[in-house]
């Protein structure tokens, strides 16, 4: 993988969502990034750990999660290439949740010092990354509404549509199909329901001809009914510099 390919999805995403100048793109390309390969379902950084670097997803999917003292895991967010799920560790030094891979991943690690230097040289990029963490927080607000208020089928539909809108930004949606590499167990952990209930919801959406989640891929069968079920309003994703 060449140097330019490592931050390619990040540049694509930031350019679309927030706008980037040529100089800022060059500065991102000049960041020292250490690339490491991870297997599926591996810890990247865990709760209680002191982080000294941030992790850019180059390839694959990750999830952030937190586990209760009874051992019940709640998935908090799903992350895709071009995202830096632990960007807040630059300011919040000890991790308050886990970051794990869902699939085999190529991850790029940027040392905190390198990011601080980038921020000093390119204050506009510091603003841009700040905006990125604010969008991250907006997504968490939506996740809380989803898990707390929507019935399970609508909850799954909402997670699917959001993931698709984010994948679109990095050019990873083919027609009506996109990746969502979660097991039934993980769907349950994301929606706050049991794996058996998750299995039933997935089946029901397939039987109703709305959407088919199969082997880590989503096929949208009926776009109108999917959007209606999800009650999706993408404003909270702020996917343009004007929003």
């Amino acid at each position: 993988m060449s140097g330019d390919e490592i931050p390619a999805a990040l540049v694509k995403r930031l350019r679309a969502a927030s706008g980037l100048s040529e100089q800022e793109i060059m500065a991102i390309h000049a960041l020292p990034i250490l690339v490491r390969e991870y297997g599926a379902e591996r810890a990247v950084v865990s709760e209680g750990q002191r982080a000294v670097e941030c992790c850019l997803i180059v390839r694959g999917f990750c999830a952030r999660s937190k586990t209760t003292s009874e051992g019940r895991r709640q998935i908090l967010s799903i992350h895709i290439p071009g995202e830096i799920p632990d960007l807040m560790s630059l300011h919040l030094h000890v991790m308050d949740h886990d970051l794990r891979t869902l699939t085999p991943c190529t991850l790029g690690f940027v040392h905190h010092e390198a990011l601080r230097l980038l921020y000093r040289r390119q204050p506009n990029l510091a603003d841009l990354f700040w905006r990125d963490t604010l969008i991250d927080a907006a997504m968490f607000r939506e996740w809380i509404v989803n898990v707390g208020q929507r019935p399970a089928p609508a909850r799954l539909a909402h997670v699917m549509v959001e993931l698709r809108e984010r994948l679109k930004l990095i050019g990873r949606v083919e027609g009506s199909s996109f990746e969502m590499p979660l097991t039934q167990e993980q769907v349950g952990e994301a929606l706050g329901i049991t794996a058996v209930h998750a299995n039933r919801v997935i089946k029901q959406l397939r039987q109703d001809g709305i959407v088919d989640l199969h082997r880590g891929r989503v096929d949208v069968l009926d776009e109108t009914r999917l959007l209606e079920l999800a009650g999706f309003d993408g404003r909270y994703l702020h996917q343009s510099p004007a929003l």
Partner: protein
């Protein structure tokens, strides 16, 4: 590990679980069945789509346990 199937009935309409899942022991199966019934019942009762949920668990084809949850709302007769 033994394989368990969770067939779910909403107001008598059956959705059979052909794949099943593996569980280490009976206690885990009981917990999964109760939690599944409770969360399906919550959705169904709130939406008014069903008032009785049954989670019927089989170990292969032998009955293993059955969880039934019924919504029962009583209102005093209005004068």
């Amino acid at each position: 590990m033994p394989r368990f199937h969770f067939d779910i009935q909403e107001n008598g309409r059956l959705i059979a679980d052909d794949e099943g899942r593996e569980f280490a022991g009976g206690e885990e199966v009981r917990k999964e069945a109760v939690a599944t019934g409770a969360s399906i019942a919550r959705d169904a009762f709130m939406a008014g789509s069903a008032c009785r949920i049954v989670v019927d668990v089989r170990e292969e084809n032998a009955p293993f346990l059955k969880v039934s949850i019924t919504l029962d709302v009583e209102e005093p007769a209005k004068a």
